[in-house]
């Protein structure tokens, strides 16, 4: 009996091979800012998944560039599919910073940017410049947003180019103080539009 040899062409009809492990980090949605007032990820809208499909969600911020100089990049949570972004949050906020001219460094808690059960937008700390090469990049994890038992934890780390030529390494963490499911997350600047940049949403599998 002749042997049959398969090559890439002969397996072009294959759409799955269930025994080959798939990656645990699944890309869900990328939103690209273009003079955008907000970027919103709403479960069930435009291909966004933000429910119990994944236990952990990861947002990546890539070169978030504000239209207005010296403004804050911010986020909020929604329990009503984006009708309102006003979930109460208690958060911590601290940062390391270093000026480009080496004139100062610091590691400090930012008492002006944390929230104590506040419903407003949480900022990723200090002011981003809007010169052509200035932006913010980083990541945020949102844990078990669909839980109806526990508060909703998040942790983030974002580095940005401060408007006064400072590299700022910002740590924001906390929880949405609700046992309702979180089904939407919105990002915006404290003033003006998000001129450009991408926000990517991933789901992390647990099986």
């Amino acid at each position: 009996m002749a042997l049959v040899k398969y090559n890439n062409n002969s397996i072009s009809a294959v759409t799955s091979a269930p025994l080959i492990p798939l990656g645990a980090l699944t890309h869900i949605k990328t939103l690209t800012a273009s003079s955008s007032s907000t970027l919103s990820f709403v479960h069930g809208s435009n291909g966004v998944v933000l429910d119990n499909t994944y236990p952990i969600y990861k947002f990546e911020f890539i070169n978030i560039h504000p239209a207005t100089n010296s403004v804050l990049f911010q986020f909020n949570l929604s329990t009503d599919s984006g009708s309102n972004y006003n979930v109460a949050k208690t958060t911590t906020a601290f940062a390391a910073q270093h000026k480009e001219d080496d004139s100062s460094t610091a590691l400090s808690y930012d008492t002006g940017e944390d929230l104590a059960n506040g419903t407003g937008f949480q900022s990723f700390l200090s002011n981003i410049g809007n010169l052509d090469n200035e932006s913010a990049s980083g990541e945020m994890f949102l844990y078990s947003p669909s839980s109806t038992t526990f508060v909703k934890h998040f942790t983030s780390r974002v580095n940005h180019h401060h408007s006064e030529d400072i590299s700022v390494d910002c740590y924001i963490a906390g929880y949405g103080n609700t046992t309702s499911a979180i089904n939407a997350v919105q990002f915006k600047m404290s003033s003006g539009n998000i001129d450009s940049g991408k926000i990517k949403l991933y789901g992390i599998k647990d099986s």
């Binding site: 091979a17 492990p21 980090l25 208690t90 929230l115 104590a116 942790t155 906390g174 929880y175 099986s207």
Partner: protein, 205 residues
């Protein structure tokens, strides 16, 4: 010559295509779910756990870890035994945290000299957790190159938790001070059981 076309049925048992053995660089390995559990342990070769030189980096995720006993810490340790798994590898660690009260009464960024470990065992990932119904801990811990027989074994952790009406963000890091390979890690509470919560293990290719 007839053309042979393969379909899903034809390759259903394939575990690799040539050099492709997995898709994506973050590979799910194992999920352990606490249910009034004294410990949650990941041991290489047991119950489908891989914790060897297959990956140079391993990620543990914590999702809503809920203690049975209020005030208990989340502990972490490793084993370098191949059979007895005594989880007693010496560690040196750092621990700092930021916290903020829901009533806005206090907040701070501080190094916790009472929470670090100097050549001890059972390091604290967190400070005390509360067992209120909606309180929990979530976050992650990355363990680097556990199978090295040359270097100490580094780990870094970032967790957030609710302690009563306080949000606490703990940064814990350090190393297992051994050149023996780490063959397993264990998580437990400092007192009482782990009432609920998931810990997942991933390999980072």
């Amino acid at each position: 010559m007839s053309i042979v076309k393969l379909n899903n049925q034809g390759v259903k048992n394939a575990t690799a295509f040539g050099s492709i053995s997995s898709l994506g660089s973050m590979v799910f390995i194992k999920k352990l779910t606490a249910s009034s559990s004294a410990t949650l342990s990941f041991v290489d070769g047991a119950n489908g756990v891989v914790l060897d030189d297959t990956y140079k980096e391993y990620l543990f995720t914590f999702n809503n870890i809920h203690p049975a006993t209020s005030g208990a810490y989340l502990y972490f340790n490793g084993t370098d035994d191949d059979s007895s798994h005594s989880f007693d590898v010496v560690q040196t660690t750092t621990h700092f945290r930021a916290y903020n009260f829901e009533d806005d009464s206090a907040r701070i960024l501080q190094y916790l000299s009472s929470f670090d470990t100097a050549q001890g065992t059972d390091s604290r990932i967190s400070s005390g957790l509360h067992n209120d119904n909606d309180s929990s801990l979530s976050g992650y811990l990355t363990l680097f190159n556990p199978s090295s027989t040359t270097f100490v074994k580094h780990f870094i952790s970032n967790t957030n938790y609710e302690q009563g009406a306080v949000s606490i963000n703990s940064k814990f890091a350090g190393y297992f001070n051994t050149t023996a390979d780490i063959t397993g890690v264990q998580f437990k509470m400092s007192s009482g059981n782990m009432d609920a919560g998931d810990i997942c293990l991933y390999g980072i290719a």
